[in-house]
Amino acid sequence: MSLDPATVRRIAKLARIRVDEGQVEALRADLNSILGWIEQLNEVDTDGVAPLTGGTQMALRLREDAVNDGGMAEAVLANAPDRDGDYFAVPKVVE
């Protein structure tokens, strides 16, 4: 599979990373060479192999339903690049 410039633009959009037109070709070449190299995995016979997702094979631990966090709006907002009162602020969104 080989990336075309439109795909590079599309995934950049999905990833919300601005890619200027002048960068597209270099990125395309880079990504293609990495993807080409990755395709060595096609040599591996994985028929009937169950995918391994996590780093460990334990079962999930659950926590009890108790309120023991939150109540610290100031700490949550302290790093905000823009805030208004106790809200985070962003450019107006039209739904």
Partner: protein, 483 residues
């Protein structure tokens, strides 16, 4: 008679599937220990996990998982002993992680059913495709500032159950009945409070239309509809829109739309214009959810009696009509109230009083069944006064009103106001004689064959006796005198 919409090219069938987002009742969020209460100060119920700070990790809430299992059991659905959490990736201002933790490939609950009852007395089964757990997003406020949107993350991370129906629904009525029934089941189970105004229950309505016998046509999703009435309106409005598109030679595009309740129409959602590619993959911060069958069994054993079972029992045990039984079981508290009133009494009379005067009183006073203006015990005592002949049905209505006003016990009201039923035949005979004597022309008319006037005489005798006459005795006395 199947519901169709008549277009210029003929009849159209409406095909609807619903995705209901139900907020799980739990003290803390799905993956953090922050509180879930409604209406708190902005960002006051936010942990660093909910705000997706660097290095923060989700730890699932056992109760939220139990609630999903209870709900699945209540929908007669398969419980998947192994499920897993996936990430649904997209960017939005109120989605702090840049992904929603949801369940995509392996939901916790599989196929189930909801039975709905329709106005024409028929019933219908709507299939449940699946139920999965996921996080709620935060809230964006777009109207607080001329150029900015404000973000409150209090809801961020609250546990939701997404309950997906099969496209089995065929009319606005069915859509409304489905949402009501689902809400009723959730409330019985105690897994969601069903409060649509506060957003605890929201429906995404998937609508398409087709001609009879056709395969499905393209559907559109109307997002976040927040009342039963709006669900019904949205189905109709969207179906009409699609029919108009098809009939004008156009093509319905698959898209996400919003319902505008003021205009009664749907419109495309601008912020969702981008073609979506959610890049689902298993959340690497979370291991598979593995449930013990014995744990599921224990949850099942502890489930309350659900509306359908209760309705069947009401019909069987109390001899109620399916309609009355359905009305009484819609809310668990109503059913409980009814059973307290009916216990040891005439159940049909109890049902009439609860669904009649009592419901009307709830409406008038703006009170709820949880905080009723008259207790079940007091209403029961009122019924007892009728049963033992102390008062008649007409006086009972007066006593009921007095109970509403004063909160006093019915027996005390009857005594204080002298409302005991008159069973003394001489008093009744005297009243009958007086009425007949005062209306000689009517007596003559009656005797000449105008039977309908009997009611006139009963009414006037009762009036003369201030309503307290025993109706059976009054009838008997009149019959005798009038021959």
């Amino acid at each position: 008679m199947a519901y169709t919409i008549e277009g210029s090219t003929g009849a159209w069938e409406v095909v609807v599937g619903l995705e209901v987002h139900a907020q799980v009742i739990s003290k803390s969020k799905l993956f953090s220990g922050a509180a879930t209460a409604f209406g708190a100060a902005p960002n006051s119920q936010v942990s660093f996990v909910d705000a997706a700070f660097p290095g923060m990790l989700p730890v699932p809430n056992r109760e939220a998982i139990a609630q999903a299992v209870r709900t699945g059991l209540g929908l007669a659905a398969e419980i998947n002993l192994v499920s897993r959490f996936d990430r649904k990736n997209y960017f939005y201002a109120d989605l702090p992680q840049g992904y929603q933790i949801s369940q995509f490939e392996h939901p916790i609950v599989g196929k189930g059913v909801v039975d709905i009852a329709l106005a024409d007395g028929s019933t219908k089964q709507v299939g449940i495709t699946r139920l999965h757990l996921e996080q709620d997003a935060g809230k964006s406020l777009h109207d607080q500032h001329p150029t900015k949107s404000f973000i409150d993350l209090n809801r961020s991370g609250v546990a939701l159950m997404e309950i997906v129906s099969e496209p089995d629904i065929r009319s606005p009525e069915e859509a409304g009945a489905y949402v009501k029934k689902l809400r009723s089941i959730l409330r019985y189970l105690g897994t969601c409070d069903g409060n649509m105004e506060e957003g605890s229950l929201r429906a995404d309505v998937n609508v398409s239309v087709r001609k009879a016998g056709e395969a499905y046509r393209t559907r559109c999703e109307v997002k976040n509809v927040n009342s039963v009435r709006f669900v019904m309106q949205a189905v109709e409005a969207e179906a009409l829109r699609q029919i108009a598109v098809w009939e004008s030679g156009g093509t319905v595009e698959q898209e996400t739309r919003l319902f505008d309740a003021n205009r009664g129409e749907t419109r495309p959602m601008r912020s969702k214009e981008d073609a979506h590619d959610y890049r689902y993959f298993p959340d690497p911060d979370l291991l598979p959810v593995v449930l013990e069958q014995s744990w599921v069994d224990a949850l099942k054993a502890a489930l309350p009696e659900l509306p359908d079972a209760k309705q069947a029992r009401f019909i069987r045990e109390y001899g109620l009509s399916p309609y009355d039984a359905a009305v009484l079981v819609a809310e668990q508290a109503t059913a409980q109230f009814f059973e307290a009133v009916a216990s040891g009494r005439d159940a049909k009379l109890a049902a009439n009083w609860v669904t009649g005067d009592f419901f009307a009183a709830l409406n008038r006073t703006g009170r709820s069944i949880e905080n009723p203006p008259i207790t079940a015990a007091a209403l029961g005592r009122l019924l007892d006064l009728m049963a033992d002949g102390t008062i008649n049905g007409k006086i009972a209505k007066e006593v009921f009103e007095a109970m509403l006003d004063s909160g006093e016990d019915p027996a005390a009201i009857v005594d204080a106001r002298g409302l005991r039923q008159v069973t003394d035949t001489s008093a009744i005979d005297a009243a009958v004689d007086a009425v007949l004597a005062a209306n000689p022309e009517k007596v003559a008319e009656y005797k000449s064959g105008k039977d309908k006037l009997f009611g006139f005489f009963v009414g006037n005798v009762m009036k003369a006796m201030a309503g307290k006459g025993n109706p059976a005795l009054v009838n008997a006395a009149l019959k005798q005198r009038l021959g």
